[in-house]
């Protein structure tokens, strides 16, 4: 036994120090809060008071087209404009050295992970999506005010999450997963051991209401959690809401 221990000790070479590569996503939002100063494509003047959302399943595209999922089970990140520290998401040591041509993530949470009670602590737990409406968590809360066609101030909750299918009696007969994947094509970039990637990702809030569909608050009102048609418009508009403003490679400080 003693010989075996000595033998195995001798066989184990010292573990080489692995220099990790991190991917840091910084989320930016081009809004000044609380003042009605924006106009969407439908002509609604509106304001934004807060933006809260989940992104998950971050991935990179290698030069050869392989899609590299960087996630672990808990790869779900919460962004909240009221909590500045949530605007940065550091995925530590997840990236292999190499050449890459793109990155992306899921907006919201896929149906496997999006289970009720996944988060029990605030602020994430405050995003819960009621069981009756499909459970899990909101993908997005975007709240604010708008001026209706008569100039009256009204409030809106542009919330995305699991949709419902209703029968003629108004009973829920099924649920619809509304999460979607966002990809950014980027000029080839190379990352080496000891370096890390930083991406500045901008949410253009107006695009939630603008492209490809004009989202008219006067039509859809102030709440859409129980309106799959309206949520679907929001999700289809969501594909080009984000853009990579800057991508840089930097050396990790030890």
């Amino acid at each position: 036994m003693g010989i075996m221990v000595l033998f195995s000790c001798k066989e184990n070479p010292p573990t080489p120090e692995v220099e990790p590569i991190n991917l840091v996503l910084n989320f930016l939002h081009n809004v000044e809060m609380d003042t009605i100063q924006y106009i969407n494509a439908a002509g609604n003047p509106y304001s934004v008071s807060e933006i809260q959302y989940f992104i998950s399943d971050v991935f990179l595209y290698k030069e050869n087209g392989d899609k590299i999922l960087l996630d672990a089970w808990d790869d779900i990140h919460y962004v909240d404009t009221d909590i500045p520290e949530t605007s940065s998401y550091n995925i530590e040591g997840a990236v292999e050295p190499g050449n890459y041509i793109g990155l992306g993530f899921t907006f919201g949470i896929n149906e496997i992970k999006n289970q009720s009670m996944l988060f029990v602590n605030p602020p994430e737990s405050f995003m819960f999506w009621p069981e009756y409406l499909g459970g899990g968590f909101h993908y997005l809360k975007l709240n604010g005010k708008w001026l209706d066609q008569d100039g009256n101030t009204k409030v809106y909750n542009f919330h995305l999450g699991i949709g419902q299918e209703y029968n003629e009696e108004g009973e829920i007969i099924g649920f619809i997963q509304n999460y979607f994947e966002i990809e950014f094509n980027i000029n080839t970039f190379t990352v080496e051991a000891g370096q890390s990637i930083r991406a500045e990702i901008l949410m253009d809030v107006n695009k939630w209401f603008t492209s490809p569909h004009d989202f008219d608050f006067n039509v859809w009102g102030g709440d859409i959690m129980q309106n799959q048609e309206a949520m679907n418009i929001g999700c289809e508009n969501g594909f080009d809401v984000f853009s990579v403003e800057e991508l840089s490679i930097f050396k990790l400080e030890k």
């Binding site: 609380d34 008071s49 807060e50 009720s116 009670m117 029990v120 602590n121 605030p122 737990s125 405050f126 819960f128 999506w129 009621p130 069981e131 009756y132 409406l133 968590f137 709240n143 604010g144 005010k145 101030t153 009204k154 409030v155 809106y156 909750n157 919330h159 009102g221 102030g222 709440d223 859409i224 959690m225 129980q226």
Partner: protein, 383 residues
């Protein structure tokens, strides 16, 4: 010879006993209070707001319970001048005053100096899970730059000082409790010193308050699969958690947030003019926080009246009527109050009844009668 030997042995035994007893007297017993662990109820957050410098212990909680209920916390002994936490925080009213308080008409506390408190009370329920700020405007919060304005410990001190509450003097209080049999020993067990300090008074009471946990309502049992809700209660639950229903859940939680509050601050459309200098704006300096106050937990809400920061509603029926038909638009109303576009949630009488029936499932009778939270039979100097 045998007698001599016995004498020598006797002397040796006495010497040994002497040194042994000397050793015991000279080496103080190490201070080892018994750690107290909060068991996390099903679905509750796992993060607790317990300051690093005040870990919970069985001895600290026991002492805190005595102090919470001992009217001499005012630093006075005359029966007319007694006041402590429990004078206003009544267990049977979820540790609020309650509209039926014998000394505070309408449930609005009056301090020893005769002044009314600025706001009515908030309940003491599950406060160990609140990290967003204590008080209607959240003036005590964990990362407050003023380290004396952060947590329940600070609330104890401020309450004792406040003219509209206990109006006390810390030195007088410390000296009084130092003179009461039993208390110094309890401080020794809880904090390692029988010299009483006001800091340790704060800590002990805060520890006790953190044990006030409600997690056994009918709705908790429903979540745990132990009971079923009645049809009206289920209808009310659906109303509670749907945007097109009553939409309570965004601020007041639900199955995914069983605190039944976010502990955050909202202008819920009660008014159109805002003159209260102690609203959330005072703390956040955010103009949108005019008229904003903490969303209270709905656990045991049925015994928590009067309702709202100023106690304007005496009954839950009045509260539901307000949310149903009397929500007012203003530049400061929180966007989550989207039903303000229609003046309220516009519930029918049946829906109001269903909603009330659901809210009643948050009643936790065990919390209201739990002897661990009750007034001790005797205080330490009466043992």
């Amino acid at each position: 010879m045998k007698k001599e030997l016995n004498k020598v042995l006797a002397v040796l035994v006495l010497v040994a006993i002497f040194f042994a007893s000397c050793d015991e007297n000279n080496t103080p017993e190490p201070f080892k209070p018994t750690p107290y662990t909060i068991e996390i109820p099903y679905g509750f957050p796992t993060n607790l707001n317990i300051p690093a410098d005040n870990p919970m212990t069985v001895e600290g909680i026991e002492l805190g319970r005595y102090l919470f209920y001992d009217g001499r916390l005012s630093g006075r002994t005359h029966p007319d001048s007694l006041m402590t936490c429990a004078t206003c925080h009544r267990q049977e009213r979820a540790f609020e005053a309650g509209v039926d308080h014998p000394d505070f008409p309408g449930g609005h506390p009056i301090g020893l100096s005769g002044l009314k408190t600025h706001h009515v009370m908030l309940p003491m329920i599950n406060l160990v899970w609140n990290s967003s700020g204590y008080g209607w405007n959240g003036f005590l919060y964990p990362d407050n730059p003023d380290e004396n304005m952060r947590n329940i410990e600070d609330f104890v001190r401020l309450t004792v000082f406040a003219k509209d509450e206990i109006d006390g003097d810390t030195m007088r209080i410390v000296n009084l409790f130092q003179s009461l049999d039993g208390y110094p020993d309890l401080f020794l067990k809880a904090f390692g010193s029988n010299k009483i300090t006001f800091t340790n008074i704060e800590k002990a009471i805060a520890q006790f308050v953190r044990t006030l946990i409600s997690a056994d309502s009918k709705f908790d049992k429903y979540l745990r699969g132990e009971v079923q809700l009645a049809q009206s209660e289920i209808n009310g639950f659906v109303l509670f958690t749907t945007e097109e229903g009553a939409d309570c859940f965004h601020c007041h939680g639900g199955s995914g947030n069983p605190m039944f509050t976010t502990h955050l601050f909202y202008n819920n459309g009660k008014d159109t003019e805002f003159t209260d200098p102690m609203d959330r704006f005072l703390i956040s300096n955010d103009p949108m926080d005019h008229g904003a106050y903490k969303a209270t937990t709905l656990r045991n809400i049925s015994v928590q009246g009067p309702y709202m920061h100023d106690g304007r509603f005496e009954t839950l029926d009045e509260v539901i009527e307000f949310y149903s038909h009397a929500v007012l638009m203003s530049p400061y109303v929180n966007p989550l109050m989207h039903h303000v576009n229609n003046g309220g949630i516009m519930l029918t009488p049946t829906e109001k009844e269903d909603l009330l029936n659901f809210i009643s499932t948050l009643h936790d009778e065990e919390f209201l009668i739990n002897p661990k939270f009750s007034k001790p039979d005797r205080f330490p100097d009466e043992q």
